[in-house]
């Protein structure tokens, strides 16, 4: 009933990853999974709960969708390069395939590095942490580094230089046979095209590092010089999104703007819904974050692709979908 083989493989992978980062001089940290505030991210739905305190007043608390908020505080306080393997929580994610509302995430920050350095670090980490006796074909192929601009042109025929203009993007979506909604946001129309044509066409026989995401998609990555892109990449193996990485934003003003705009968006979208709107930590935007690159990697998914699977459920001892069926 329980997949102990998979549990042993998971244990081996986690141990290898810990050894890799510790040998490289990273400090392993352990930060809370329960927090009174989070980084505003309108596309991530959060689990909320309540800390009950009869005498001093109760408070709402939230399960972290990633340990970023705490790890960046440590970076700003001079921790140096750090990593953490922790449980993370995302609400409203569908069950099955490569999703489980609770999952295991590796988050690693390299001080002094940028997003390009992180590609090299990630490739080396993947190579050095592979499982004994298992050599999936994708490990033998040279990883592909491709920009979003190139990928959108190659697989969807969309010119990202013109795509800042939403009417161009809409026309392209319609030309491609898609049906963007009337007042659809830039992000949604872009994702319609990206998810229908580009993402499914990315090579599946190797690691793919998809770089330079459009700056219209808000995130805490630095802006590229002179281009409408962000210093952000996502990594795919066997067509599954495994990791996300930024050259971390260090500009306090840019961070403040991100926080206020994203929080407002989140508040508007969630009004009258079941979704909670976690407050943000006002002191976060005053942090002096050093030049660093941060990666977040789904370890359930990484384990799955090492074992040649395209779903994570068989690797979880207690998948939520099973527990809910009982």
């Amino acid at each position: 009933m329980y997949n102990f083989d998979a549990a042993r493989k998971r244990s081996e992978l986690l141990m290898n990853i810990r050894t890799y980062f510790i040998d490289k001089g990273y400090l392993e940290v352990s930060t809370p999974t329960l927090s009174p505030y989070l980084i505003p991210e309108p596309t991530i739905k959060t689990f909320g709960t309540r800390f009950v305190n009869e005498f001093e007043g109760s408070r709402d608390l939230y399960m972290i969708p990633s340990p970023e908020i705490f790890m960046k505080k440590l970076l700003a306080a001079g921790s140096g390069s750090i990593f953490q393997i922790s449980q993370c929580f995302r609400n409203a994610e569908q069950l099955g395939d490569v999703h489980n509302p609770e999952f295991t995430m590796l988050e690693y920050y390299t001080v002094g590095a940028d997003d390009r350095d992180s590609i090299a670090i990630t490739m080396e980490m993947i190579e050095k942490t592979k499982l004994k006796g298992i050599e999936e074909p994708w490990l033998r192929e040279k990883p592909l580094i491709i920009s979003m601009h190139e990928a959108m042109l190659k697989y969807a025929g969309v010119d990202m230089d013109k795509a800042e203009d939403i009417s161009y993007l809409r026309e392209e979506a319609i030309r491609l046979g898609l049906e963007p909604g009337e007042n659809e946001s830039w992000d949604d129309t872009f994702n319609r095209i990206f998810l229908t044509y580009t993402e499914p066409s990315l090579p599946k026989d190797r690691q793919v590092y998809l770089t330079d995401y459009p700056d219209k998609i808000a995130c805490l990555a630095k802006h590229s010089d002179g281009k409408p892109t962000k210093k952000r990449w996502e990594m795919y193996i066997s067509g599954i999104e495994i990791a996300n990485c930024y050259d971390e934003e260090t500009d306090k003003e840019a961070t403040r703007t991100y926080f206020s705009e994203e929080y407002r968006k989140m508040e508007n979208e969630r009004q009258g819904t079941e979704y909670v709107t976690p407050p943000y930590d006002p002191s976060f935007t005053d942090l002096s974050i050093p030049q660093s690159s941060g990666g977040a990697m789904g370890l359930d998914r990484l384990l799955a692709v090492h074992l040649g699977l395209n779903c994570i459920e068989p690797l979880l001892l207690f998948p939520l979908s099973d527990m809910l069926r009982q």
Binding site: T43, E93, D187, N191, L195, P200
Partner: protein, 187 residues
């Protein structure tokens, strides 16, 4: 109307006036983006498979379907012919819409079919079917290796790997999903 996020395998939808059945569904949450679903939809009349990516919040037109039992009669290479077990109406279904189904269609066997109005959208094959071995290779003399196997062909043309003791004319139970031999059936 339903939300695209509610579509599951087997959900029947109307797209540009044509019925489609969802055969694959995958949830996608792009990094920093809204939730989407990727669907593979099959047209029961042409067998054409459509790939659709929809936002989970997009509306989709679902259709009400009904299950009926059909008895399989025969095929002429183009259509499968069935008889409705209640009304005795004869129903034809284009074979190209259900590739490889001919290997599992046994004369006289009853199959559950999903209908939208008078159109068959889907046919459910029982998970186990008993077939007669129409052709069997002779076991090689002296081949006494434990667990040795050979191929046989059923009356429907399905090739199945079986233990060497299975002979022509015998009945075998087959798992229709994996096309694997399960056991010999003594008649």
């Amino acid at each position: 109307m339903i939300k695209a996020g509610q579509i599951d395998k087997g959900t029947a939808l109307l797209i540009k006036g044509q019925p489609f059945v969802c055969i694959e569904r995958e949830f996608v949450n792009p990094g920093k983006g809204s939730a989407f679903v990727r669907l593979k939809l099959k047209s029961p009349s042409t067998g054409q498979v459509l790939s659709e990516t929809m936002k989970s919040q997009d509306n989709a037109e679902d259709i009400t379907v009904e299950d009926r039992d059909l008895q399989y009669l025969y095929n002429d290479g183009e259509n499968f012919y069935f008889q409705n077990t209640e009304t005795f109406d004869q129903i034809d279904v284009p074979m190209k819409s259900f590739p490889d189904y001919e290997y599992f269609m046994k004369e006289g066997e009853t199959y559950r079919a999903t209908f939208w109005e008078d159109q068959v959208l889907d046919i459910t094959i029982p998970s186990k079917i008993v077939f007669t071995v129409a052709e069997a290779e002779e076991a090689v003399k002296g081949d006494t290796v434990q667990g040795a196997t050979k191929y046989v062909t059923t009356e429907t043309g399905l090739r199945v790997r079986v233990p060497i003791f299975i002979k022509q004319g015998e009945k075998i139970r087959v798992n229709t999903e994996t096309k694997e031999y399960l056991e010999r059936v003594n008649s």
